[in-house]
Structures are given as structure tokens and as C-alpha cells.
């Protein structure tokens, strides 16, 4: 009872009838993450085999990239070991005309979408910020600032719809990224505009060292969707079949014009944040071991074997195929990238400003002077000033 009511001095008109803008119930996620593997659900055997092949390749990619950091060939690598199911499902849920907006950890999704591994690793190798043409591949540059690529996905999907094109954008972010303002603004814009976007949150348990419990008080990250007016889906992120099912469903829903969707993949980062991180400082080995029991590759392999779709020969064949990819990747990553210092001044603007022209001329003079003295240009030297060794330990 308000003060005015107590005084009895005024007749208060009843408030206008309130109604929720949307019925929240259909937007709410399930209480448990969706699982399909091991449930006896009806599944497409060919799809399962394709997912399996991609998972094996993805695991091998993660191992090879981590090895390359130890050989000084990659400046840093944020491994997605343990998260391969979410990565490959993201790539396989899209059609050719769709766009993928990955974060820095999502190299695997970009590779599974068909990009050259060496081009995808350009950012982490340090030879250029992005090694592929986003327009040709419809994969946005790997985004390092958290969640900032999400509004890009919304804008692109909105623009495509305005032009009448059948394009869906899938934007990937981690659990830590859901705390960023850009996450909120992107979801809000997407829902208001009913843009054909799918947000995939890979909840891998930690934002570097900070566990999810210190990141959010929400019941689940999928619950966040409801506040924006879009459905939230909760999925076992290590179950590639469930991931593919839910993401494909969300993508096709967006394609039909039914608006955006948020998918939370509950998964785990088996490796540290990057090769430079020490994960033993913030989590127990027993926790990691428990998640190893729920390895996405093991889950898929068990499913395939129990269905009679995979035998030892098939598993070996998949392993050999992944090994060929890794070998090719290793060989090409061991080649020194061709760098041209004068490229520094390209693509700052469409046309060089007078000031940039002057600076470019100064650098050119430096390079020519150095060449005259027989000193190699900066970009041709080893970043660490050391000789590389390949995996066999021989000097390159």
C-alpha cells in the first residue's frame, strides 16, 4: 500500500493491464543438456561417420598445433582439445552461403569449414593478422577481443536479409565472453531485428582461470536467451550428434525467418587456456580426469562401434587420414613465411596518406641500406633469433 493510498486523498486509477511481450515458456532451455549418443536415438549413420572423421582430424590438429608452439613455429595456441565436437558441429551445421564468426579458440571450426590450416593459423603464427579471405570463405577473421564479433554477425545477417539473401550467421563465444557488454548488445539487437543469427556459447568451464560459478549467477548460460526474447538450448557439447542436431535446427529455424537462438554447449577444456597457461594452478587433476571419461571422440567411437559402423580398420583409416593432414600442416608450417616489410603500409587506407607515403619511403631506404650492407630484412629473420628444429630434431 502506497503513502497516497494510506492518506485516502486520491482515487487511484488501476494500472493498465500488463501482459508479457512473449510467452517465456517455449524460450526456456531444458533442465539437462541434450544427449543423443548412447541413448538409442535414431541417427544418420553417414552423418555420424562424417562427424567422427572430423573429430579425429580436429584432435590431431590440436595436437599438431600445440607441438608447433614448442617448436617456436606458433607464437601461441589456444587448444580446443575436448571441445572438438562443438567446433566441428558448428562448421557442419552451416550451408555454403552461411557465415561463421569464430573467436580465437575456434581455429578448428574454421578448418572443418574447409579453410587451409596454415591460413587459419596465420594470426597465431604471427605472420599476419588473418591469413584467409573472409568474403571468399565466409569465415570472419578470428576475433581476439571477447564477444566483439557477435554484433558483426548480427549486422551481417541483418544486411543479408535486407538484401533478400538466404544467409545465416553463426557466432561463437566462450563462457567468459557472455559477461561482456557486446554479448548483451548483440543478442538484444538480434532479437529486436529478428536477425537470422545463431549464437553458440561453448561453456568449457573456465575463462582462463575463472570458473563459471564466478562468471555468472544464471541457472545456465542458455537461460540468458530468454531475457532477450529468443530460445535458449542446452546441449552436451561433447556429443557431436546432439551438437549437430541442435545447431542445424537453430540454423534452419533462423533461415525460415523465425529469428535468433542461443545454444549453450556444455563442454570442457582439457588443455590449459593456451600453451602459456598453467592450468594446475586453478583446477584439480581429478576434475580433468573425470572429463576425459566423457571425451567427445570416445563417445562417438563407442557409438559407431556399437552400431557396427566402425571397426579397427575404419578407425585406423581415419587416423591415417588425420595424420596426412597433420604432416602437410607441419611441413608447410616449418617453411619460413614470406614476409615483406613494405606490406606494413598496405591496406591501412584505400589510398596511402601523404604521411604514410613518407614513412613507407623511410622504411624502404632503411631496407635498401641494410641490403647494401648484407643484413637481411627484419621479416626474414627468425622471430626468436633461434634456429628451428623439426620434429625429428634436425636443424632446419
Amino acid at each position: 500500500m502506497t503513502v497516497l493510498e494510506q492518506s485516502g486523498a486520491y482515487h487511484l486509477a488501476p494500472p493498465p493491464a500488463w501482459r508479457p511481450r512473449r510467452d517465456p515458456d517455449p524460450l526456456l532451455p531444458d533442465r539437462e543438456p541434450l544427449r543423443l549418443l548412447g541413448t538409442g536415438a535414431e541417427l544418420d549413420g553417414e552423418l555420424l561417420l562424417e562427424l567422427y572423421g572430423q573429430l579425429v582430424r580436429g584432435r590431431r590438429f590440436n595436437e599438431q598445433a600445440t607441438a608447433l608452439t614448442k617448436q617456436g613455429r606458433l607464437a601461441v595456441y589456444p587448444s580446443s582439445t575436448g571441445q572438438e565436437a562443438a567446433e566441428v558441429a558448428a562448421a557442419l551445421a552451416l550451408q555454403e552461403q552461411d557465415w561463421l564468426f569464430p573467436s580465437y579458440r575456434d581455429t578448428l571450426a574454421a578448418v572443418a569449414r574447409g579453410l587451409d590450416p596454415v591460413a587459419v593459423l596465420s594470426l597465431l603464427r604471427g605472420d599476419w593478422h588473418s591469413g584467409y579471405d573472409p568474403r571468399a570463405s565466409r569465415v570472419a577473421p578470428l576475433s581476439t577481443p571477447l564477444a566483439t564479433q557477435l554484433p558483426h554477425a548480427v549486422g551481417l545477417a541483418h544486411a543479408a536479409r535486407l538484401k533478400g539473401d538466404d544467409v545465416v550467421a553463426l557466432a561463437m563465444v566462450g563462457d567468459g565472453g557472455t559477461s561482456e557488454g557486446d554479448f548483451h548488445e548483440a543478442l538484444n539487437f538480434a532479437a529486436v531485428w529478428q536477425a537470422p543469427v545463431v549464437f553458440l556459447v561453448q561453456n568449457n568451464g573456465f575463462a582462463i582461470s575463472v570458473p563459471l560459478a564466478k562468471q555468472t549467477a544464471a541457472p545456465s548460460l542458455a537461460h540468458k536467451a530468454v531475457g532477450y526474447g529468443m530460445p535458449g538450448r542446452l546441449v552436451d557439447g561433447n556429443d557431436a550428434a546432439a551438437m549437430h542436431h541442435v545447431l542445424t535446427d537453430a540454423v534452419e529455424r533462423a533461415r525460415r525467418g523465425e529469428g535468433p537462438c542461443l545454444v549453450e554447449a556444455v563442454t570442457y577444456r582439457l588443455d590449459a587456456h593456451t600453451n602459456a597457461d598453467d592450468a594446475t594452478r586453478y583446477r584439480e587433476a581429478s576434475e580433468v580426469d573425470a572429463w576425459r571419461e566423457h571425451d567427445p571422440l570416445v563417445l562417438m567411437e563407442q557409438e559407431l562401434r556399437s552400431r557396427g559402423l566402425l571397426d579397427d580398420a575404419g578407425a585406423q583409416k581415419a587416423g591415417e587420414e588425420a595424420e596426412r593432414m597433420a604432416g602437410d600442416m607441419r611441413e608447410r608450417m616449418h617453411q619460413e613465411p614470406e614476409l615483406h616489410p613494405m606490406d606494413l603500409f598496405d591496406h591501412v587506407f584505400a589510398h596511402r596518406t601523404t604521411q604514410l607515403q613518407q614513412q613507407a619511403e623511410r622504411l624502404r631506404a632503411e631496407l635498401e641500406a641494410a641490403e647494401a650492407e648484407g643484413i637481411p630484412a627484419a621479416g626474414e629473420q627468425d622471430r626468436h633469433g633461434q634456429a628451428h628444429t623439426d620434429e625429428q630434431g634436425s636443424r632446419k
Binding site: 554484433p151 558483426h152 548480427v154 557486446d182 587506407f349 604521411q355
Partner: protein
């Protein structure tokens, strides 16, 4: 604000058939530039807070939603990072977004999108993803705005490689520069001096003046005694100061309007200072690490042997923008400009009789 509202273009109206030389305001010229850009290119999209039905708080987007539809002139949720971030995605898909930051200091939540993505997308993708977007930012003081409504943020933008930063000071330039900015294949921070929104000159919407290109300064007033280097809201102050100096002191001050801070038209500035031998940079934003510091450094590097005096700056104080009742003490005015001119070592005893020849005639 009432002036702009009273004379604004009506929603759905045909392009105004006004007789040539009828005075127009800067806000009207900007509106016309947006209208002409929308009509000329279907990829141009205007969006931001209150730009649709309301026509913008300064009425710069008045009538655009009615004429071109809400898909081309769109009211967004209240979120600057979201506006700039979605503009990135639209530009990635080949559109030319023109977004409005409602007031200078309201743009700060979008700063990460500006510096982490908009400014460097072309560079990081080696030209594959240019960002042909225009960010309109009403800026500067002098309209009695309360806190966060009067900042001059140009130095932040200038310090970000990959952004063009332009600012008109006349009605004609407002039209010409905005058309050029929207047509540019690079991101442009288009700073609108809000206290000049209602300033009129004889620009005619029937014969819209074009500017040659982004990045060209212009000599607004020729002179021989000293150069005033300025832009945006400080141009009228400098023009008035130059008239007063001519009238009262017999000094002929040259006034250079930069129009574009990035790219910076070094040649026009250097040529002027080499003619006059003296320079004062005038702007509202803070002096310390402000735009004038860059201009003064460049002038010193390129004109050292032509200078009769150190390059001086007349700028806002190095304080957070003051409350409106005190802003007149903060903003550079005619007296402060004239005071700086008087400090330009006109006597220069140490050089007397050496006949450097570059000091303008009529100085003594």
C-alpha cells in the same frame, strides 16, 4: 534547437525547391547530404538512436525514414557498441552504413568496436574487408549542454590508425564532406560541430557545392602576417579574430580550415606558414596531447627556418569539459586568439635587422 525544428524538411516532402542562394543551415545541408546519398546508392543505410520517427535529436535525419522506409533509416536499441558493431557486419556484407552517435561522449561505449575492428578490418584482412562506414558524431561545446554533451574527442580518433577524421565548418562543406565520407571506402569519423548546426550561409541545396576530396584543407582568408590553423567550431572564432586584427592592428591573418584531421593536409598548412612565418593553432579540445600538438610539431619540423616565433596553441583547458555556466571561460574565444597573436614575437629583437624577409609586411 527550435530553429532547426522550425525549418526542418517535412517527412515525405519532395526535395525542397528553394531558390538559389536562400540561406540554409548546416543541419539542413547534412540532411540533404544523407537524403542524396540514400537516393544515389541502395547500399547506404542510416541508423542510430532516435534517427527514425524523431529525425534525430538535432533533426539531421528528419524525414528520411518516411521517405526511404524504416529499413533504410532505422531506430536502433540504445547501445553504441551494438550500433557500431552491427555496422561492421553490414559493411562486411557490402553495405555503406551511416550511423549516428547521439552526442560526443555517448560514443565511448562503442570505442572498442572503433579501435579493435572498424579501424583495422581492412588492414587485418589485407583489403578483403574494407569498412565503408560513416560515424556521425555531434561534438564540441557552446550550446549549454550538461555533462557528457560537449566533449571534443577528435584526438582519440586521430590517434587510431585506419580512421579518417573530418569536420566541416561551413554549410557547404557539411554537405560536400558528408557526401564524400559516405562514398569513401574507408571508415570516416564525421564530427559535426553542434554549435554550428543552426549557422546559415548562402549554400544552395539546388547547387550543392562539392568538396574536392577528403583530406584537403582550405584557406578561408588570405593573409601575410600569421596563419591561424583551425577547424570546425573554432573557424568562425578565427575568422572574427582575423577581421578584428586587420581592423585594429593592421595585421593580415591567414586562416586555414583543416576540414580533415586525418588525412592531414600538410602541404597547405606548411605552404601557408612558410608564407607568413608565424602560426597559431586554435581548437576547443584540450591542448595537452591534443590535435594542436600534432599540428605544431609538424609545422616546426617542416617550417623551422621560416618561423619567426614558436608555434602557439589556443585550446580548451586541460580539464574535463566544464558545466555549461562556466563553459565560456573554457572555450577559445576571439580575445584569446588575439592574445596569442600578440605573443607571436612581433618585435623579435634578436632577429631585427637580419631581414629574414618571411615576416609579413605591415607587421610593424
Amino acid at each position: 534547437m527550435s530553429t532547426a525544428t522550425g525549418t526542418s524538411l517535412q517527412p515525405g516532402a519532395q526535395p525542397p525547391r528553394e531558390p538559389a542562394r536562400k540561406p540554409s543551415t548546416m543541419a539542413q545541408a547534412l540532411n540533404r547530404a544523407l537524403r542524396d546519398s540514400l537516393a544515389a546508392d541502395p547500399d547506404v543505410h542510416v541508423f542510430g538512436e532516435d534517427v527514425g520517427t524523431l529525425g534525430g535529436v538535432f533533426r539531421v535525419t528528419d524525414g528520411l525514414a518516411a521517405e526511404f522506409g524504416e529499413d533504410r533509416c532505422t531506430d536502433t536499441p540504445l547501445a553504441e557498441a551494438g550500433i557500431l558493431g552491427t555496422a561492421v557486419g553490414m559493411a562486411m556484407y557490402g553495405m555503406r552504413p551511416v550511423v549516428e552517435m547521439q552526442f560526443d561522449a555517448f560514443a565511448y561505449p562503442g570505442f572498442e568496436q572503433l579501435v579493435s575492428h572498424i579501424s583495422r578490418m581492412r588492414n587485418r584482412t589485407r583489403g578483403a574487408l574494407p569498412m565503408p562506414l560513416t560515424v556521425r558524431v555531434p561534438y564540441g561545446g557552446g550550446i549549454g549542454g550538461v555533462e557528457h554533451h560537449s566533449d571534443s574527442s577528435e584526438a582519440y580518433y586521430m590517434a587510431t590508425p585506419g580512421l579518417h577524421v573530418v569536420t566541416p565548418a561551413t554549410v557547404a562543406d557539411a554537405y560536400g564532406l558528408l557526401r564524400r565520407s559516405i562514398a569513401s571506402d574507408d571508415p570516416v569519423i564525421f564530427l559535426e560541430p553542434k554549435r554550428l548546426y543552426w549557422g546559415k550561409d548562402d549554400w544552395s541545396p539546388e547547387q550543392p557545392a562539392e568538396v574536392p576530396a577528403i583530406g584537403r584543407a582550405v584557406v578561408r582568408r588570405p593573409g601575410t602576417s600569421a596563419t591561424l590553423i583551425t577547424y570546425g567550431p573554432s573557424l568562425p572564432v578565427c575568422m572574427e579574430a582575423a577581421e578584428a586584427a586587420a581592423r585594429d592592428e593592421g595585421l593580415e591573418l591567414e586562416v586555414v580550415d583543416l576540414r580533415s584531421l586525418v588525412p592531414f593536409d600538410e602541404e597547405t598548412v606548411v605552404a601557408s606558414v612558410r608564407r607568413t612565418g608565424r602560426a597559431v593553432v586554435v581548437h576547443e579540445s584540450t591542448g595537452f596531447a591534443g590535435p594542436g600538438a600534432e599540428v605544431a610539431a609538424r609545422v616546426s619540423e617542416r617550417c623551422f627556418h621560416y618561423l619567426e616565433a614558436p608555434v602557439l596553441r589556443v585550446a580548451g583547458f586541460d580539464i574535463p569539459y566544464p558545466p555549461p555556466m562556466l563553459e565560456k571561460h573554457h572555450l577559445p574565444d576571439v580575445d584569446r586568439v588575439l592574445d596569442a597573436v600578440s605573443r607571436l614575437q612581433w618585435e623579435s629583437e634578436w632577429r631585427d635587422g637580419e631581414g629574414s624577409g618571411s615576416a609579413g609586411e605591415g607587421v610593424r
